[in-house]
Amino acid sequence: MTSRGRAWRDELTGLAWAGPWLIGSAVFVLLPMGMSAYYALTDYPLLEPPMFVGLKNFRDLAGDPTFWRVVKNTALYAGVSIPVFTLVALVLAGLLNSRVRFGRVYQAAVFIPTLVPLIASAMVWFWLFNGEYGLVNKVLGPVLRPFGLSPPAWIADEAWVLPSMVLMTLWGVGQSVVIYVAAMQDVPRQLYEAAELDGMGPVRRFVHVTLPMISPAILFNVIALTISAVQVFAVPYVMFRRPQGTNPAGHYYTMYLYETGFVYGRMGYACAMAWIQLLVVLALTGVMMFASRRVVHYTRT
């Protein structure tokens, strides 16, 4: 066989093995993306054929107060929950990494809540946050009473939606903790010994040795968190939707997208929203990759 024929054969063999994914991603990812890019430019009321309208959907979105509200809510949620989440995850990982006894028990306790399906987690917190009989207020009530304060109504109160969401998100911090602990265990011991000889205390060693050494893991985690925070859906969908209407502070981007497409049947408008979301995700990822390059470079010098 000629070498050319052989190369072709290798190419075909490779394609055949990659085949399932190539076909799958063509049908379930690339085709849908192309479709939604086109539908974003159309008026498409589910039961009628799409009608091309150019950028009308995007212009309408710019003047849609609900759109701007869900953007604001989602940005606030991502902007507050991600830093808090990352900080808590790093501190817990640092403590677990200090080789205390029962470390595995503590780690399991923090990890187990991440196993709880989102929908079950929403139910449990729905109960915990209940203004009247919820555990959270049963505990907080007596603590606050001497100060003349009473606990908030949490998910029922617009002002307390964000803190409730952050708390619920924090309950799932265990997965990141496990990732960070694994990364911390790969940091060479000599670095700590050298830092100790330089007279660094535990906090400074954590900040100046541990954090830079695990910065790649932090970066990837923060990117993954961002992508999922921008899409947050199941928990607020269950918690803030009421027969009398959604709590306006608990109305998030993907919830509105879902309602637009599947409740009001405005497929074109929903696709326009989806593309904006995709571009935001890509832009945020790009910015974080770019900004982090300097940080990683900085730690190596």
Partner: protein, 289 residues
């Protein structure tokens, strides 16, 4: 033995670390403990002002537990056993497809030499970033075209084409298997399929277990997929079914809601206890992506 160094060397620091971690552990487990406690109470006591872990009288705990869980299981409108069956069908078909197909693709991206390999691998990584909402509307239309809306098929069939993260994970694992093994087999005249089936797969059981486990959890968790594709309450999965309890707004039967939640959570916790090592290894590798 090496001298213990680091932040844990001073007794006071150690004590504070223990105290913090113990408190954190209690806070993290409290919601689950409360879920179980509520699930074993009569409705009137679940919705009361006092904090109690056991019903009054405490000896009645088993009676109430049995009663609550039984009424969740036997409910005529929210049919837990049916939703469990649906979820298990999706999980079984999905896990089988996801594990096998991802392994096949990962083999093509690690053991077969071809020029398009790098480009395809890059595409695999790129698709991991695509938010699902972008696909939501068109996927619904595609599945409607295929006649899959209102059936369980869209929840498991795509898994048979592999999943980006799982392909990535398995490829990284396959790369660590020494090349000499398949080169020797090739000299003996083995085909790629034989090498895959006889050498690579048996050596990759831990990684395959991670993929299977993660996909099972994914199916158990998935809410958006069933919400969009399922139309008939008889086809609901557990995630959708659980939501039915709460949407009967007004007077939520908290004890029953918590019993149903506990039934949904417990298989995963049990799975975790049984496969803790696989789990932690899998989660740790997630940080590498």
């Amino acid at each position: 033995m090496r001298r213990q160094k680091g932040p844990t060397s001073r007794p006071l620091t150690r004590l504070m670390i223990h105290a913090t971690l113990a408190l954190v552990s209690v806070l993290f487990l409290a919601p689950l403990v409360w879920m179980l406690a509520t699930s074993m109470m009569p409705e009137s006591q679940a919705a009361s002002q006092s904090i109690r872990l056991l019903p009054d009288p405490p000896s009645a705990v088993f009676t109430h537990a049995k009663e609550n869980y039984k009424s969740v299981w036997n409910d005529r409108t929210i049919r837990f056993p049916l939703y469990l069956r649906n979820t298990l069908i999706v999980a079984a078909l999905g896990v089988a497809g996801m594990t096998l197909s991802s392994a096949v693709v990962a083999y093509g991206l690690s053991r077969v030499q071809w020029r398009g390999r790098g480009a395809v691998f890059f595409l695999v990584l790129a698709t991991m970033m695509i938010p699902f909402p972008v696909l939501m509307v068109p996927l619904y239309l595609i599945f409607r075209e295929l006649g899959w809306i209102g059936t369980l098929t869209p929840l498991w069939a795509p898994a048979w084409f592999g999943g980006a993260f799982n392909i990535f994970l398995l490829r990284q694992f396959f790369m660590t298997i020494p090349r000499e093994l398949d080169e020797a087999a090739r000299i003996d005249g083995c085909s790629h399929w034989t090498i895959f089936w006889r050498i690579i797969l048996p050596l990759s059981k831990p990684a395959l277990a991670v993929v299977a486990l993660f996909h099972f959890i994914y199916v158990w968790n998935d809410f958006v997929g069933p919400l969009i594709y399922l139309t008939d309450q008889d086809q609901y999965t557990l995630a959708l079914g659980l939501q039915l309890y709460q949407s009967q707004a007004g007077n939520t039967p908290w004890n029953l809601l918590m019993a149903a939640s506990a039934l949904m959570v417990s298989p995963l916790v049990l799975l975790f206890v049984l496969t803790q090592r696989t789990f932690v290894r899998g989660v740790s590798t997630e940080g590498l992506k």
